[in-house]
């Protein structure tokens, strides 16, 4: 019996806003690294959906260390038409002997935990993995290369700058170990520029901020995921810090629209911030998540704010994506939270 995809509403939304793009992919092939993470699953879902609905006859090859494990966890993606797997580690995978038109490099261990526990492995994965994937792009004749980078390349957002634009020239403090992720991402953005110049590969860069939606790992360091997890468990919703930092969240389905648009329509060599410009404090976010549950769980904030200290911010300016590519945040934060909660409630049944 055919079961309805629980994400069909989101996938229709993605298709609606990307319809004009997909002809670029007709009978073409995409190679994707990091295809089994949060970003990857959304790209796989939306690819399979478009491939099916528009009869694109396109193919997507997914690099994975353990394809069998992924297939057991997500059979509907593994069996989707046009999706195949290639076993390997991003740092040293064997090149598939076929041509690809597009490459999406989404392999990143974007985990604060890893940054603390094994930063050298993380740096290796980012630097050697990007180098290997760029080499493969050259080898297989790919025309376009989408690099999934991060807003971490900007370092600490100055308190008087409400939204960081792409041409902000600041950087992390390189002598802090916590800068490993941001510095490694800076270096691989640079590698993309080198490959574009030396080998003519059209590289486009997505500097990603914060996201919410189905498939988000609720147990790692993302505040919004932890709040939803706490809410699903009946509460209370626990805020570890003082709740003052500002974040902004783009819904996963919008994220997919943005990434496909940047891949197909982004200006070669350009970097685009990807995220929402609607800043919300962690404290307000916790209350908002609480209000999305019928029992309105209690919010517990661990620390009190230090008087006089300006709140920390991590909020992008997204004018470039809006004006150059016509992108928007279509789905509100309320709706994003509701859809995420619904997805996880259904998944539990």
């Amino acid at each position: 019996m055919e079961t309805k995809n629980p994400l069909s509403q989101d996938l229709d939304h993605i298709l609606e806003h990307t319809k004009a793009l997909w002809e670029d992919l007709r009978e073409k092939k995409v190679f994707i690294t990091g295809g089994t993470g949060f970003f990857g699953k959304w790209l796989l879902e939306s690819f399979a959906w478009a491939n099916d609905q528009l009869k694109l006859d396109a193919q997507m090859v997914v690099l994975s260390r353990d394809p069998d494990y992924f297939k057991t966890r997500h059979p509907h993606l593994a069996e989707a038409s046009g999706i195949r797997f290639h076993q390997g580690d991003v740092r040293n995978f064997e090149f598939p002997q076929e041509r690809f038109d597009f490459i999406i490099h989404a392999a990143t261990d974007a985990s604060a935990q890893l940054n603390i526990e094994n930063p050298l492995f993380m740096v290796d994965t980012i630097v050697d993995g990007t180098r290997r994937t760029l080499e493969f792009a050259r080898h297989c004749g790919a025309k376009r290369f989408l690099m999934i980078s991060s807003g971490a390349v900007y370092g600490k957002q100055p308190p008087d700058l409400s939204h960081i634009p792409e041409d902000y020239s600041g950087a992390p403090d390189p002598i802090q170990p916590a800068s490993a992720y941001g510095e490694a991402k800076r270096l691989v953005e640079l590698l993309c520029s080198v490959y574009q110049k030396e080998y003519g590969i059209e590289t486009v860069i997505a500097r990603c901020f914060a996201f919410v939606g189905p498939y988000l790992n609720l147990n790692i360091h993302y505040a919004i995921g932890n709040f939803i997890r706490d809410g699903l468990a009946g509460g209370p919703i626990k805020v570890n810090g003082d709740g003052t930092p500002y974040r902004s969240y783009l819904y996963a389905a919008d994220l997919a629209v943005w990434l496909w648009t940047i891949l197909f329509r982004g200006v070669p060599g350009e970097a685009y911030n990807v995220g929402s410009e609607d800043a919300i404090s962690i404290r307000d976010l916790a209350h908002q998540v609480a209000a999305s549950f019928p029992n309105s769980p209690k919010v517990v904030i661990a620390k009190s704010p230090v008087p006089g200290r300006p709140p920390e911010r991590y909020v992008p300016c997204i004018d470039r994506a809006k004006h150059e590519l016509g992108l928007q945040c279509w789905i509100s934060i309320d709706e994003s939270i509701n859809r995420t909660i619904r997805f996880y409630q259904q998944a539990c049944h």
Binding site: P119, L120, V123, V127, V153, G155, K156, P158, D167, S169, G170, A171, P172, D173, P174, I175, Q176, P177, S179, A180, E183, A184, K185, R186, L187, E189, L190, L191, C192, S193, V194, K197, E198, I205, G269, A271
Partner: protein, 349 residues
Amino acid sequence: MRSEHRDIIHKDCEQVTANSVDLLSALRGQCILITGGTGFVGTWLAELIAFLNDNHNFNTQLILLSGRANNFSAKAPHLAIRNDITLIERDIRSVVDIPIEVGWIIHAAGNPDNRVHASDPLRTIHVIVKGTDAVLEAATRLPDLKKFLNISSGLVYGSQPWELEAIPESFMGSLYCDSISSAYAEAKRMGETLCAVYRNQHRLPVVNVRPFAFIGPYQLLDRPWAINNFIRDSLLGGPIRILGDGETVRSYMYPSDMAWWLLHILAQGTVGTSYNVGSPHGVTLQELAEKIAGHLPVRPEILSRLSSDKSLRRSKFVPDVNLARNTLGLNVNVDLDSAIKRTIMWNRL
């Protein structure tokens, strides 16, 4: 090399060490490894340590590691034949084992020539990142490592804002990681971050320095930097050509000061700290050209090609060295006029 050359260096070393050799007593009887040991920085460090051994019985052993160790006996035969200096020829990226008697490491490998960075950015990045990683990794296996001095670069800051008189270590940076011209700077940033990670993960006692610009003996006059070209042109009878804008501001430190600062920071610098190394005395290119011209018996002509839009062409690159001055008492011993005079003398011999 003539004995007059050696006399210049001997006097230079005498001047910078006058009354202060006790500050380096931690290095007595120790073994120091210098990567990139036969380059400009390494050669000057070797000169200063040889001087301390000969005149102050330091009894310090020096190992110079270099990919081009063979050239050293032609460049500095008086150093190459010494018993207290050992040369090891090795590509920095393939360093695995460091002799266990090494207690101090100065990581000075890396070519600062921006023509090389532009012509082979991938190799530039690879040598810096993989080389630094290899040396740090090998350093973790040393039984008694007292200090690891990472020679980074003032270029990690990017372009100095015109309004900023001098760059302090806390400057947040002004550079774009998606620009190919940042290859060297971004790789050096990554090198600093790798040091920070090893400091954090493996408790390596790393101190970081960011050298700016230098002029003096062993500096090659064919390097693509203003002062080198001005002196080269003057020695050939002129004219001195100022390219770009005469209002551009630079500062130059004489290498005996540099070597003294580096050894002092090695011996006394605080782990986890980054120190600017250079002269805080800015000079415009116009003033610089005139200073140089004034040191020649026949004054060469100065040609400046002023660009129409000053704000676009003029730049500034001057370190704020208050941290080294206030915490370690470091000062500039050789002023710019003496530096120019000695450089001209050295090159005319």
